[in-house]
């Protein structure tokens, strides 16, 4: 189990001083990842989506805000690859430009919930006692409010202004998803920690006088992290979905932000007649989620000390 001591949360952690084994777990993980085709497929997709998010004009030179109302709801053609939506926007261009908001919302909300939820879960699970009681109650308080309900209330309480800048509009959705999204991960982390804690190697480390921080980092985290990564990656997709639902209810992202969620909710009215409007943003959304979950899964397998 000594190898496990060199990793912390991220994949980028290098071996701390004092551990100069030739093969750290990080490099081990990297070696097994390299052999995993799922990893490469998901990375390719993610890189593509990130490129779209950062540099959309690389993929299309059609202005996503240009509406040709007279050609609204046109089917895919050479002129407009994915067809046109209800407003006459070019769906291909809208879908490319939509990556930015959805990816931003998904990624940042996931990072925030992992950080908050993970920390809370570890504290509650490892230390136990009154700290566990307090943290668990706070977790319960937020957990008891369903994500969507909290989202609706929050966005209704702090609505966007006409002049809200792009980042504020996106940031607000990230904030609300983080506030009401972390408790699930906290509870999961806590229960994982509780499962790991009674194990012999943890008891042994404690008996040897390791500091709590070191035990958490070296023994608890690597073992408790696996379910967390799985759920967090799935959550990434859910967050993008919830963003879409909030937009569906009229309180998520607002123009001029373009997102898959907004596109999907706008396309719902066309479900009966022109489903291609719904198809493309849904497809991209599903692919993005798929990519992140596959990556999460691959990384999980690679870092799981027990899988080797």
């Amino acid at each position: 189990m000594t190898e496990a001591s060199t990793i912390a949360v991220g994949a980028e952690t290098s071996a701390p001083a004092g551990h100069d084994e030739a093969r750290s777990l990080t490099s081990d993980a990297w070696r097994s990842l390299k052999k995993n085709p799922i990893f490469w497929v998901s990375m390719a997709l993610i890189v593509a989506f990130l490129l779209m998010a950062v540099w959309p004009s690389l993929f299309t030179n059609v202005d996503p805000a240009e509406a040709v109302l007279k050609q609204a709801r046109e089917r895919p053609s050479a002129n407009a690859w994915f067809g046109r939506d209800i407003q006459g926007y070019d769906i291909y261009s809208r879908t490319i430009y939509g990556a930015r908001a959805s990816i931003l919302v998904g990624v940042f909300a996931s990072i925030a919930t992992v950080l908050i939820g993970g920390a809370m879960g570890v504290i509650a699970g490892y230390y136990g006692g009154w700290l566990d009681a307090v943290v668990s109650r706070v977790t319960d308080i937020f957990f008891a409010i369903p994500l969507l309900l909290g989202g609706i209330l929050f966005m209704a309480t702090f609505p966007n202004d006409v002049d809200s800048p792009y980042l504020l509009v996106v940031g607000k959705v990230v904030l609300v998803l983080s506030i009401f999204g972390w408790p699930g991960l906290a509870r999961l982390m806590r229960s994982s920690v509780l499962q790991v804690k009674p194990n012999d190697y943890v008891q042994a480390a404690r008996a040897l006088g390791a500091t709590p921080w070191r035990i958490i980092r070296a023994h608890v985290l690597p073992n408790a992290l696996a379910p967390m990564i799985v759920v967090a990656t799935i959550n990434l997709g859910v967050f993008i979905s919830v963003e879409a639902t909030l937009s569906f209810l009229g309180i998520g992202l607002t123009p001029p932000a373009i997102s898959w969620g907004v596109a999907i909710s706008d396309a719902i009215v066309a479900l009966r007649t022109t489903p291609h409007i719904l198809l493309f943003p849904s497809l991209f959304l599903s692919l993005a989620v798929l990519a992140f979950i596959m990556l999460g899964d691959a990384v999980r397998d690679a870092f799981d000390p027990k899988s080797r």
Binding site: L69, Q87, M155, I251, L271
Partner: protein
């Protein structure tokens, strides 16, 4: 029915009291709505309903959900013809006046409330006094405003309780109402009103039984009217059941034994139920089924559409709130930059009619093209007009709408049209819901442009002008102020000849084209769908279901 006031009536109604009395007074019973071939008597139907916002008291119901139910159970002095919207006497035998200020109402004998008591003159006077009296806080109380003594029945205080202390209303009763005998009462108005009788078909003017005064709260749970259907039960948020009133003596009864309003949260759900024959009539076809007129294939021969007295407009924030739109030339340029025809075709599937003025074509006194060239799309002229005004100084234009109703499609398309023609960025901005939307408008925090719709209260040209554009009027959201306009409106109200009154109103309307307080967009249509079980579905002039003609096959 968020976003719209309750529909009351419409159409080329006879707006003169004298005429009305002459036409309908002499026992001349206008034909009731024709019964459809093949329909059988009896049986019960289910129709789409929505949640009443308030207890079901006629003078406290200003929205369609409760209004539709109340319309079926109440009888009023005047009934609007299902076909044309023209007012016909119902409980009233005669409504007479020689000066547009003093009215004598004579009732027919024999009308009964559902509790068995007879409808008498005092039932009207008491009901109207209750509606007007400030401390009763009735939301439709302002309909009594024209009646003499209304001011004294209102609380004058301010703050948390305007009725406390010195603010208490001076009088409990309207001095303008007097009972002459059991079947006669008089109305005196403060100023001349040219269309008094037309207004009296609004449900706020329904008579209330004596039992109402004893317990208004109980009444709100189980209203008692004198109409063709009586109220059976109300399962909150689920359904409202009505059944035929055996002692109904009016002529608008129809064949049905029972009506159930099934309450839906979503128009799509109701529509799907109609397709599946689980609901008999829906008065709303969702926009998803409007695309490419899908509903016509979903419900072949089981759909109908009819224009109703609703106009959609875009109002500009008051100048002191947002000076960027102050110049009428800018407003006219924006109006000319909107391609109404294409938006109606692509977004509404031609279920709207492009507006050419501020008054719905369904009312008497409507005049086409009052807006003139300013309501005709012309990108080049629009741009030239904007340049003439020195361009737009506010950066980007905004068009706000309430996001809890389906306004996103057309507001966005409208903004795109403006952007395309004027080259100025325009953003359709959602406001979370109707309550917030109205709060922002009422407190004058809303800048730029915002959507506004008007469903008329009664079928008169006056109702499309006075409440919206007269200085200080209740729904003058843009705080439009034009003394010339006000003067013409007042002159029109004093006219005893309906043609002259209409001419004055039309002159007033013409002034709006020069100032553009609001941009006319289009006139609305109601679209219905029904199941295979029913026949004789007729859309009334109000956009509601005509229960007198509806029956089972």
């Amino acid at each position: 029915m968020r976003g719209t006031t309750r529909t009351v009536a419409m159409v080329a109604g006879i707006s003169s009291v004298a005429l009305l009395a002459a036409a309908c007074g002499g026992g001349n019973s206008d034909k009731t709505t024709s019964s459809s071939a093949g329909g059988k008597a009896g049986g019960a139907v289910t129709v789409r309903g929505c949640n009443p916002q308030n207890p079901l008291i006629p003078s406290n119901t200003t929205e369609t959900c409760g209004g539709n139910v109340l319309d079926a159970i109440t009888a009023k002095l005047v009934h609007y013809n299902a076909e044309t919207g023209a007012p016909e006497n119902d409980i009233a035998d005669k409504i007479e006046s020689t000066d547009n200020q003093n009215f004598t109402v004579t009732l027919k004998k024999g009308y009964k409330f559902h509790d068995g008591t007879e409808v008498k003159a005092k039932n009207f006077v008491d009901a109207w006094n209750y509606a007007a009296y400030g401390p009763n806080a009735q939301s439709s109380g302002y309909f009594m405003e024209p009646i003499e003594g209304f001011g004294d029945t209102q609380c004058t205080g301010s703050g948390d309780d305007p009725c406390a202390g010195a603010g208490k209303a001076k009088a409990e009763k309207l001095t303008g109402l007097a009972v002459k005998d059991d079947y006669t009462f008089t109305i005196k108005t403060t100023e001349k009103v040219s269309n008094m009788a037309v207004r009296l078909g609004y449900s706020a003017f329904a008579p209330l039984p004596d039992s109402f005064a004893a317990d208004p709260k109980a009444y709100g749970e189980k209203p008692v009217g004198a109409g063709p259907f009586k109220f059976d039960s109300w399962t909150k948020n689920t359904e409202i059941k009505l059944s035929k009133f055996a002692d109904y003596s009016g002529k608008f009864g129809g064949k049905l034994d029972g009506i159930t309003f099934k309450i839906y949260q979503d128009e799509d759900a109701a529509y799907n139920d109609v397709i599946a024959n689980q609901l008999d009539v829906t008065d709303q076809v969702p926009s998803s089924a409007m695309i490419d007129a899908k509903y016509k294939t979903d419900l072949p021969d089981r759909n109908a559409a009819k224009s109703v007295g609703v106009i959609q407009t875009i109002t500009f924030a008051p100048t002191k709130v947002d000076p960027n739109y102050a110049d009428p030339k800018i407003r006219q340029a924006i109006s000319m930059a909107i391609d109404r025809d294409t938006i109606i075709k692509q977004i509404f599937n031609n279920t709207r009619q492009p507006a050419t003025g501020w008054v719905s074509p369904v009312v008497d006194g409507y005049k086409a093209n009052q807006c003139g060239e300013y309501c005709v799309y012309d990108a080049a002229k629009a741009k030239a007009k904007l340049d003439e005004a020195g361009g737009f100084k506010g950066g980007k234009m905004t068009l706000a709408y309430n996001a809890d109703s389906s306004h996103k499609g057309w507001t966005e398309a409208t903004c795109n049209s403006i952007k395309g023609a004027l080259g100025v960025d325009c953003v359709a901005t959602p406001v979370v819901d109707f309550a917030t939307f109205r709060t922002q408008i009422a407190s004058h925090k809303m800048k730029g442009m915002f959507r506004s719709g008007w469903q008329m209260d009664y079928p008169s040209i006056e109702n499309f002008l006075a409440p919206l554009y007269k200085t200080g009027a209740s729904s003058n959201d843009g705080q439009y102020n034009n003394p010339e306009f006000d003067k013409l409106i007042n002159e029109a109200a004093a006219q005893t000849d309906p043609a002259q009154a209409n001419a004055k109103y039309q002159q007033a309307e013409a002034l709006l084209a020069g100032d553009m307080p609001a941009i006319p967009m289009w006139y609305s249509t109601a679209t219905f769908g029904w199941s295979t079980k029913v026949t004789g579905v007729k859309i009334t002039a109000f956009g509601t279901i005509d229960f007198a003609s509806l029956s089972l096959k």
